[in-house]
């Protein structure tokens, strides 16, 4: 069994991959994230984050996207830990 670590996308390190558990926000946010492919159950990889709490870039499926730092902290991710 692998260990279960939950982080927000904002807290994740660049290059880390995990599965989206929950969107910690209202329906409006969930809808907008869903539009670019981010929703519970999806694999998500953090690519990088800009300095000074700038936007976070990520990959879901074939899509690369950037979202604000605040939003990134509302995406709860269970990190893949290879055993």
């Amino acid at each position: 069994m692998s260990q279960k670590i939950q982080l927000t996308l904002g807290q994740m390190a660049a290059g880390q991959t995990g599965t989206v558990i929950q969107i910690l926000g209202g329906r409006g946010l969930a809808q907008r994230l869903e539009a670019i492919g981010i929703r519970a159950g999806k694999k998500i990889t953090k690519i990088s984050s800009m300095l000074f709490r700038g936007p976070v870039t990520l990959r879901v499926d074939q899509t690369q996207a950037a979202i604000g730092f605040g939003m990134a902290n509302k995406i709860l991710v269970e990190i893949d830990t290879s055993t």
Binding site: G28, Q31, R32, L33, E34, A35, I36, G37, R39, I47, S48, S49, M50, L51, F52, R53, G54, P55, T57, D61, Q62, T63, Q64, A65, A66, I67, G68, F69, G70, M71
Partner: protein, 568 residues
């Protein structure tokens, strides 16, 4: 019959649109309240049908103004060609399934089909068709592959009218479809991926941005000056001038027609910046000063747009733009503004809130000089030395920052966070870039040339009627007192409302000092948008906000002009 081209943003709808409507169609922005879509026609079974390129949308529940336009347009369509990015099938199918719930026949174009092979994506088209219950045709917009097939199958478009009780149910269905239709195979890391990784890195991205910026300036100047030195100036000097001199002689070198057509002769010669006749300055400014730089600018912009660099710049600039109440995406309309403020202000629609659109539109109008104005500033102020051009640009940049900080503080509301898709880098064929450049350059000639000629005509007539002396005397206190400009400059500043390039041209014969040139051109750039921008501002912001924006522009221009007068 009206056919709508709909799909997620950046799936190649517009490329498909120009493929479908052919080269003979003039794609034009449709005036009216529901602007933002382009229409053309296609001949389908002996019938002319209208094709409308609808702004990209992720969902039929709109979250931005551009998406609102899309949702509204859907009600007027008789058939929808749903353009789907084959490399992003899962996400794109969300809109597709939403469309299938509507009472309108749908056909799916599985676009960017060629890219699926590079990316190791295998899609079973027949099976997808079965699942969706509507025709699915693989297409490649840039090469034209599959377009004929798509057109042939348009009559097969149907309305399955499936309904889903909730978003979740829809996503479950999409998951099912993807599982059975798509399979992925491993792909190698290509140099495209490497370039993408560099752009995403906070430091690597910044270095790349500086390189791109430097290359942009260099290429624009190289091409712009190249066209002027080797094409337009020789043409004017060796072909046009002798012709005009003959005409002038035939007209007796003076009198009404000579003044209107040729203008004043300076030492018996035509001076293209000073003579101010319709056929001299009126033709020279748009074609020989502005056009070369417009061509150069749109060439570089077209490449940056099509390669997919601008969204990456938006990510990089996001933190900075939040300081002025915007987010990173606002960089795209701002950059468009360096070409022309009209499309730039229309492009502010991609911003979500009214507050952002107001701030972005105001900042663009105040501090982003269009290519026509820039070409004239570089041409005229540059004669005095490039350091003066630098002062003009520096003043504009400072105004952008300061006005932005103030607006962010003063305008009520908050700025939403950035959320955007970053497209993969793509390298479109030169033909595609060339066609886009031609569309923009010919658009400039068609739209700007008549206004420039009209402005020159108005100037000449008003001069003859001595209207200008009257205005000049009234406004003299502000101009000379606050800005330190001779009272004659008011004429140029007033003409700036018609065309800013002509206005700068009118400063040429006044014999201004370098300082006065800096002040007057900065003032012209800031004070008021040209009439075309003004109309768009009123339409996009509404009359009240437009007046507010105009007030801010006038105040900012007077303050900056006054400061320059004190400091320089």
């Amino acid at each position: 019959m009206k056919i709508l081209l709909m799909g997620n943003p950046n799936v190649g709808k517009s490329v498909l649109f120009s493929r479908l409507t052919g080269t003979r169609t003039i794609a034009s922005n449709y005036p009216g309240t529901t602007v933002g879509f382009t229409k053309g026609t296609l001949k389908l079974e002996q019938e002319q049908v209208e094709i409308i390129d609808v702004p990209g949308t992720y969902t039929l529940e709109p979250t931005s103004k551009a998406e609102e336009v899309a949702a509204k347009m859907l009600k007027e369509g008789d058939l929808v060609i749903d353009v789907v990015d084959a490399t992003n099938l899962e996400r794109n199918l969300n809109l597709t399934l939403q469309l299938l719930e509507r009472p309108v026949p749908v056909i799916v174009a599985l676009n960017m089909w060629d890219d699926t092979h590079h990316r190791g994506i295998n899609i079973n088209v027949a099976k997808l068709e079965e699942f969706l219950g509507v025709p699915v045709v693989p297409t490649v917009g840039v090469t034209g592959e599959g377009i004929r097939d798509l057109v042939n199958r348009i009559p097969e478009a149907t309305t399955p009218k499936t309904t889903y009780s909730s978003n979740d149910e829809r996503w479950i269905k999409i998951g099912d479809i993807i599982d059975q239709v798509q399979s992925l195979s491993h792909r190698h890391h290509t140099w495209r991926d490497v370039l993408e990784d560099v752009s995403n890195h906070p430091v690597g991205g910044a270095i790349l941005a500086l390189l791109v910026l430097a290359a942009t300036f260099f290429v624009i100047r190289f091409i712009g000056e190249g066209i002027i030195n080797y094409v337009t100036d020789p043409l004017f000097n060796w072909l046009w001038t002798p012709l005009l001199m003959k005409l002038s002689l035939a007209l007796g070198s003076q009198g009404f027609w000579n003044d209107i057509l040729i203008g004043k002769l300076i030492n018996g010669e035509i001076d293209y910046l000073q003579s101010f006749g319709l056929l001299s300055t009126g033709i020279y400014i748009p074609l020989a000063v502005v056009l070369p730089y417009i061509t150069a600018f749109y060439f570089v912009l077209g490449i940056l747009e099509d390669v997919g660099y601008l969204p990456r710049l938006a990510v990089l600039m996001d933190t900075l733009l939040h300081r002025v109440g915007l987010h990173g995406y606002a960089i795209i309309p701002s950059i468009l503004g360096f070409g022309c403020n009209v499309p730039a202000i229309m492009a502010t629609r991609i911003l979500e809130s009214r507050r952002e659109r107001f701030i972005a539109a105001t900042l663009i109008s105040i501090a982003i000089p269009c290519a026509a104005l820039q070409a004239m500033i570089i041409g005229l102020v540059g004669q005095q030395g490039m350091q003066y051009v630098a002062i003009v640009y520096g003043s504009l940049l400072a105004s952008w920052v300061i006005v932005g900080l103030i607006l962010n503080y003063a305008v009520k509301g908050f700025s939403p966070e950035l959320i955007m898709e970053i497209p993969p880098y793509r390298f479109p064929p030169w033909r595609v870039i060339g066609e886009k450049l031609w569309l923009r350059v010919s658009g400039f000639i068609k739209e700007a040339l008549p206004i420039v000629l009209g402005a020159v005509l108005v100037v000449n007539i008003l001069y003859m009627l001595n209207v200008f002396d009257f205005i000049a005397n009234i406004t003299a206190p502000i101009l000379t007192g606050l800005l330190g400009l001779p009272k004659e400059t008011v004429v140029a500043l007033a003409i700036g409302f018609l065309r800013k390039d002509v206005a700068v041209g009118m400063l040429a014969p006044l014999g201004l000092t370098a300082k006065q040139l800096v002040i007057s051109t900065t003032f012209l750039a800031m004070v008021f948008p040209c009439v075309a921008t003004f109309v768009i501002l009123a339409r996009e912001l509404g009359a009240r906000d437009m007046l507010k924006a105009a007030g801010i522009m006038i105040a900012a221009a007077l303050i900056v002009g006054g400061l320059q007068n004190l400091v320089l």
